[in-house]
Symmetry: C2
Subunit: 396 residues, 2 copies
């Protein structure tokens, strides 16, 4: 794993523990973006849609993501944002489950999961309804009217891993379908959509997949659903024959119908090249390293920062934890500002959560050890009390 | 205008007449993409969301597009694809016009306009319906049940310009709202959404705006509609306080609520930099040059290619024409392949249309004259009959 770090551009003087929010820059992505802009766009112009394979990017990138999430190559497509893909997946799943009216999400999930589930229900003008369940209770709310349940595989705040196979089986037993959000899981922990008999999934390209800021997202539809599943967003590039410019819509075969508009080639290409870093890597080893980094962090924090106001807000059991760790601190915001000033980059989530991500591909054990010493310095020395750290920026 | 050409990278030996499909590469966009990937992402990492202003890109890019389409800076946002924005605009407009059920589009429009209008109707499970009117009849179909009409300002195939002020007034008189598709207009002809009292508009970033392949699209909502207009795609970045991570959705004020997911920063940045080429340019001069190039092309084709099987498929009157010209030829596909092989790059649209775009910012009169000579050579010499030119690629 150590040599994989060489595949990334990492600024000196920084310990980057926010790869769970924005993955670091792979050298392959930087090279590709330069070539796509300068050569493929600049010199190839319109001919690059075929000549450079731009038109196939949604399926090609999807096929590269597939092995990271336990899917077949023809079950995944890269397109749009995670939010837009959630909308597609929820409505497509609900359509497969006609006669049922309820879409379930859970409080405390990443907000867009709930917002887009509610949006999918709202556009149907009452045919579907959305229910927001209390945290940890979504499976208990499954009943004979549940059409779709949306759950994250790894919780964005706590890092808790949900039991994909178990919850999927529970939903199926109740006659419901599940949309899994893999954003904080894929590229860090092993995901086995096929083994879990999953229905739909969505995920984000810019976290552990390192596709760059706002990288395209992806959508998974199990092969058994593909013949009947329809995207509600029937854009021209999901058409069976987009270049026939027909007045009537006929969906492309398979997963390709979940493409909507023209793909953003710069972002798609960066993600495509970033995924090459995963080629040949063993998912078991990646997950093991990410969790070992997190366990080391928790152990060192408890030894070195005892009595300094930190409390663990993630599962202690590594098997139940993704590759980030959340700590609570009553003054979390200025503490994180002070850490960032010292070169330890994590992030803050309201009201009091410090998140530290341990991207397995480029984070070293020594980075964790060093980061904990900086946490100790900042808390013990109270440098976070500097008034400069109190002012809230728009994004943290 | 001649010096503006210097702002673009243009390959030698090529006469590029497809800027209406994919605009050429502005040097500013190339420089920006390199800097965003290498510096802002590579070195700035997560801090660039605020430090490099990524988070404001949707509104900043929207504000740069605004003067090109006769809008105020706070009436335009860059986001998603044209297809997704059509969906948002049609449903938002229909919601403002509650009680009415019909969404109108016209045969022969760019397909995604019709597909997404139909999609918007379909998700409402019958509350809205979509009607596909015959070509040229959409305004005649307006009646007391029309909620929304979708029309392109410049027709993607023929280049015909629709009367934005007249059609908008006609729709308003019937109590309907209009969604304008500006994809083939903005950056080439003057667009005056404000002067036309327009309601909603969408458009594409990668044609005459030169934002790069699959560049983000944009959405316009007239200020008078903004207080009540709601996006049906309530992604987390359209929230009033996205970083509060609240379980309930509250739309941001104004146009910002039409942002959905996280913006694709590479594509947004390329478009942002590409738009700088328009700074200080006079829209009247841009439009005049684009139309003069088209008129010159038509004149020369009729003089130099008489009897060679070409027929004009665009309005002859430059005031009724955008900046591209369509010609019919019974063997249009192999003819265009032969032209491209000779370095004259236009495109082909089924069944028999050769399209030639005259992007005013980088096309010269001498390019037009030279292109017509190549058209004459290819047709008179029958080099298009080479069997190599008959095989259809996926995209032309």
């Amino acid at each position: 794993m150590a040599s994989v770090r060489e595949a990334f551009v990492l600024p000196s003087g920084v310990i980057y523990l926010d790869g769970n929010s924005l993955g670091a820059l792979p050298r392959s992505a930087l090279d590709r973006v330069r070539a796509v802009a300068g050569e493929e766009w600049g010199r190839g112009l319109i001919g690059s849609w075929v000549g450079a394979g731009w038109i196939d990017l949604p399926r090609r990138v999807g096929a590269k993501i597939a092995p990271l999430i336990g899917a077949a190559a023809d079950e995944v497509v890269a397109a749009d944002s995670t939010s837009v893909n959630l909308f597609k997946a929820v409505l497509a799943a609900a359509d497969l489950n006609g006669g049922r009216s309820m879409v379930l999400t859970e409080r405390g999930e990443f907000p867009t999961d709930t917002y887009m589930a509610a949006a999918a229900a709202a556009v149907t003008r009452g045919a579907l309804r959305h229910r927001l369940c209390d945290e940890g209770t979504v499976a208990g709310a499954l009943d004979a009217d549940t059409a779709v349940m949306v759950v994250s595989h790894v919780h964005y705040r706590s890092g808790e891993v949900r039991d994909m196979a178990g919850l999927t089986a529970q939903a199926h037993a109740a006659g419901a379908l599940v949309v899994w959000d893999l954003s904080h899981a894929a590229g860090a922990v092993r995901v086995d959509l096929g083994g879990a008999n999953a229905d739909f999934a969505v995920g984000c390209g810019y976290k552990y997949l390192n596709g760059g800021p706002g990288a395209p997202a992806y959508l998974y539809v199990a092969r058994r659903h593909q013949a009947l599943a329809r995207s509600p967003l029937t854009g021209w590039l999901g058409h069976a024959a987009p270049f026939a410019f027909a007045d009537s819509y006929e969906p492309a075969g398979g997963i390709a119908r979940f493409v909507c508009g023209t793909p953003g080639v710069l972002g798609m290409s960066a993600l495509d090249a970033a995924l090459d870093v995963f080629a040949g890597l063993d998912g078991v080893a990646v997950e093991r390293k990410g969790r070992a980094l997190g366990t080391l962090f928790i152990d060192l924090v408890e030894r070195r920062c005892a009595g300094l106001g930190l409390a663990l807000a993630s599962p202690r059991d590594p098997a139940r934890r993704g590759c980030h760790v959340a700590l609570r601190h009553a003054h979390g915001y200025p503490v994180m500002r002070a850490l960032i000033e010292r070169g330890v980059i994590g992030d803050f989530r309201d009201p009091d959560i410090l998140r530290f991500g341990f991207a397995p591909l480029y984070t070293r054990y020594r980075d964790v050890a060093r980061a904990v010493e900086v946490v100790r310095d900042v808390l013990a020395g109270e440098s976070w009390r500097d008034p400069r750290h109190a002012a809230r920026a728009v994004v943290t």
